[in-house]
Amino acid sequence: MQDFSYVSAQTVSEAVSLLDENGEKARILAGGTDLIVQVREARRDVGLMIDVKSIPEVNVLDYDDDAGLTLGAAVECYKIYAVDAICNAYPGLIDATKIIGGTAIQGRAGVGGNLCNASPAADCIPPLIVLGATCVIAGPNGERELPVEHFCTGPGQTALEKGEMLVSLKIPAPASNSSSFYLRFIPRNEMDIAVVGAGASVTLDAAKQTIVSARIALAAVAPTPLFAEEASELLAGREVSDAAIDEAAQAAQAIARPISDMRGTAEQRTHLVGVLTRRALNGAIQRI
């Protein structure tokens, strides 16, 4: 593996200064399940790894029924699904944390790393989008916030500017009569990368007959995970019905721009967007 330096940063400002001073060659190390592999395979040129796992703010895991969830950028998957209140509030995010790699990967990998790696197929990003998550970003000029759907700008590319790091994710408390769901298609039962992934969150009225609002997001069908905005909006105010769900699934298919690769053809992926969007919506509704 290429030679690099390692620093265990103790504060956000220390990590930000190191990032700012060292530019492109400095990378944040969270669980390392993407970064270490990329450096070993010479897919990323890194001169300095800044380990952020000792910084208090990136280890926060704080859920409150009113305030929602603050999820530190380095919190490992296994810690998230160990908290019952979080599992109940955000089942769609939990679906994703439980399918990333296997047990040993989930012992290190986190949602923040999954997001910052910005893979089009990243399993946590569609659930974050449908749950309305916001990125809390720290940089040389202070802190800013950004909705998750604007964070990824291309494969492996993010909206983080020079010197900036992700500190945490904020997810609003779930509305009453709402739930979420994420699923992916893979040829195996586990330990694989999504051919297509789909996440949905749905809020119903008190009678559980009418959709108040819904959000749909897709993985592995474009250079970045996609928020299917039109498909989401056309569900608002509709009765829960197969017809409404079919329409949303078709609208989601319309924005997919998949490629053909060894995991699947563009045609298969477009077909899967329809199937998985229906299942994600129905899955979320059944959980309400």
Partner: protein, 158 residues
């Protein structure tokens, strides 16, 4: 030559000090610096589980941990499992069930099984299969491994 850092950590209950480069994985440190060659290198990218060890009570792939990250932490490896005159019940169960052939995957499977039984002493077959999904075996076809873990669970929780 790359600069080496001094690291102090606990391995199988004993305080250990070593020098390593930042780019050396925990797996490389264990095998090449500390001569604990039980953990194996299969894929070196997180897919096979042959390098599984327990870090602060949590199962990890030691090929995806840097040696320098283990400062002040606690590592359990296959070498720490048996007592001087007695194998660990999971090791016994693997022998009893002939749950290994070439054996290269075995230390990883046993550490993974140990982490499972530490957190869930009575897993179902389904839970065992999911937990072990990150450990690959090219020889056995898995059934005997799963059976061994079920037996070990019965033995240790009895």
């Amino acid at each position: 030559m790359a600069r080496k850092s001094h690291v102090q950590t606990t391995i199988n209950g004993e305080t250990v000090e070593f020098l390593c480069e930042s780019r050396q994985s925990l797996l490389e440190v264990l095998r090449d610096e500390l001569y604990l060659t039980g953990a194996k290198e299969g894929c070196n990218n997180g897919n096979c589980g042959a390098c599984s060890v327990i870090l602060d009570g949590r199962l990890v792939n030691s090929c995806l941990v840097l040696g320098v990250e283990t400062e002040g932490r606690s590592v359990e490896t296959i070498e720490g499992l048996a007592e001087p005159d007695k194998l660990h019940p999971i090791q016994d169960a693997f022998l009893e069930n002939a749950a290994l052939q070439c054996g290269i995957c075995t230390p990883g499977f046993i550490m993974s099984a140990k982490a499972l039984l530490d957190s869930n002493p009575n897993p179902t077959e389904h839970e065992i299969r999911y937990w072990l999904a990150g450990n690959l075996c090219r020889c056995t076809g898995y059934d005997k491994i799963v059976k061994a873990v079920m037996d070990a669970a019965q033995e240790t929780s009895a």
